[in-house]
């Protein structure tokens, strides 16, 4: 999942730095992720993993780093399995 998220981030994130140089825990907003690009990223992830982010996860924290995104996606996938 980490790889896929990184691929999507590279594609739509519009970051001024190379995604490979970012640690999993690095602050994406500080790295230059704009609010517009973060929405593009959310859309791309929804499409790729065939999920929808519920409203309570649509906040800055859920998308603050690569590991935060991983955790958010994992949480949604887990909830879907449980359902």
């Amino acid at each position: 999942m980490n790889e896929t998220i990184r691929e999507l981030l590279a594609k739509v994130g519009g970051l001024p730095v190379a995604v490979e140089t970012l640690e999993d825990g690095a602050d994406l907003y500080a790295a230059g992720l704009s609010s517009f690009a973060s929405v593009q990223l959310m859309l791309a992830i929804e499409e790729k993993f065939d999920i929808e982010f519920p409203d309570n996860l649509l906040n800055r924290k859920s998308f603050a780093s690569i590991s935060a995104i991983e955790a958010t996606v994992a949480q949604i996938l887990k909830a879907r399995e449980a359902a």
């Binding site: 907003y29 704009s34 929405v39 649509l58 924290k61």
Partner: protein, 393 residues
């Protein structure tokens, strides 16, 4: 006469009304000359309104967002420029109150602000960023315990009259444009050289001139939290809600003038309803919508305040954006109705029904953070945000 008869009414409402009386007296002169509303801001200091939001533990009054909104509206009914200066100051103070309590320096500054009634301005816009204050070009330089900053600030409202300025910048020379911090500079720690004149259609008294800002201060004066969090968690909401409260005040005063006009006309014609009466009913309807929208927004913020996740959620941003869009557009319709009702007496300056200043001041509302930018921002969020269709929430 007994002693209590001499005691002034010290409730917040009474203090705000006393300041409003001063602001109203000078409103036309402030507007005509495009000068700072010195009398009104001196009155705010004398009535100790500048520190009301500071927690009581630091010498303030822990005023709620609703109480501050009410003061904005009371002042807005008298002089929109004075009210906007008050609102912008309180927006700055909200950053301190919400994000400064973990830093010793910022706590001390809150105490000083409350005790000395300091007026705080801000420098968030910059030449070259295209109006998006969530980007900076300038970068703060940290050299040991000192920070230095030079900013080509195209707007610093009442900058020449402030006791301190909060300035945004990139967090370092290497930082991305969105990686911002905000720093408090006290008067004496900076110089400002005027670069652009504020000669405008309305809101002339805010004196939002452009300046070249150069500051040097202890590095502890930088807010410990990233500006992105400050902007999302307090500035977005307080700006949209308190600006809207000022605008409500302008529209409420316009409707009041129109109502006086219609009433006077009805008296003269032995109770026959003058032609503008129907429009007055429509304006009153719109004013109520405007009020309900702001009151609901204030409640949404008050409810969300306890939960940082909710404050930075899309649903919350959209709700605040919508308050701003609706109030900035509705006031123009309301004041225009009032103008048609009052006719030439509303169009002329210097009558009890004059509405030229109201209308000109109100035109700033759509531009203070362009509504087009806000609409674009909301429409982006709506690509992923799921609507909440409940009525009561």
């Amino acid at each position: 006469m007994s002693l209590p008869a001499f005691a002034a009414d010290m409730t917040l409402g009474a203090r705000a009304h006393r300041v409003a009386a001063v602001a109203a007296e000078f409103a036309d002169r402030v507007d005509r000359d495009g000068r700072f509303p010195r009398e009104a801001t001196d009155a705010m200091k004398a009535e100790r309104l500048l520190g009301i939001q500071i927690p009581t533990a630091f010498g303030g009054e822990s005023a709620s967002i609703q109480e501050i909104a009410e003061v904005c509206s009371i002042l807005g009914q008298a002089c929109a420029a004075s009210a906007m200066v008050f609102a912008m100051h309180q927006i700055k103070v909200s950053s301190l109150v919400e994000h400064g309590s973990e830093s010793e320096w910022h706590k001390d500054f809150m105490r000083e602000l409350a005790s000395r009634q300091l007026l705080v301005a801000s420098a968030t816009t910059e030449a070259g960023i295209g109006g998006n204050m969530r980007n900076s070009i300038c970068a703060i330089e940290i050299d040991g315990g000192t920070c230095r900053l030079t900013k080509d600030a195209t707007v610093i409202s009442y900058g020449a009259h402030a006791d301190a300025i909060m300035v945004t910048s990139r967090s370092s020379e290497k930082a991305a444009p969105t990686d911002q911090v905000m720093t408090v500079f006290k008067r004496g720690q900076y110089t400002i050289d005027k670069t652009v004149d504020w000669d405008t259609l309305g809101m002339r008294g805010t004196c939002s001139d452009g300046f070249l800002f150069k500051g040097e201060a202890p590095a502890v004066q930088i807010f410990p939290k990233p500006f992105a969090e400050i902007a999302a968690q307090s500035m977005l909401a307080t700006s949209h809600l308190w600006w809207s409260s000022v605008w409500y005040g302008i529209a409420a005063d316009a409707v009041q003038r129109a109502q006086s006009f219609v009433r006077a006309a009805a008296r003269k014609s032995n109770g026959a309803v003058p032609p503008g009466a129907t429009r007055l009913a429509e304006a009153s309807n719109l004013l109520q919508l405007l009020k309900a929208n702001i009151v609901a927004g204030l409640k949404t913020y008050a409810d969300a305040k306890a939960d940082p996740d909710q404050l930075s959620s899309m649903a919350f941003s959209i709700a605040m954006n919508n308050v701003k869009l609706a109030s900035s557009e509705t006031i123009l319709v309301i004041i225009n109705q009032a103008m048609i009702i009052c006719g030439i007496m509303g169009y002329k300056n210097g009558t009890p029904y004059s509405l030229g200043r109201h209308l000109r001041d109100a035109h700033s509302a759509q531009l203070m953070i362009s509504n087009d930018r806000i609409l674009g921002n909301t429409s982006t969020m709506l690509l992923v945000q799921k609507p909440d269709t409940s009525l009561i929430g």
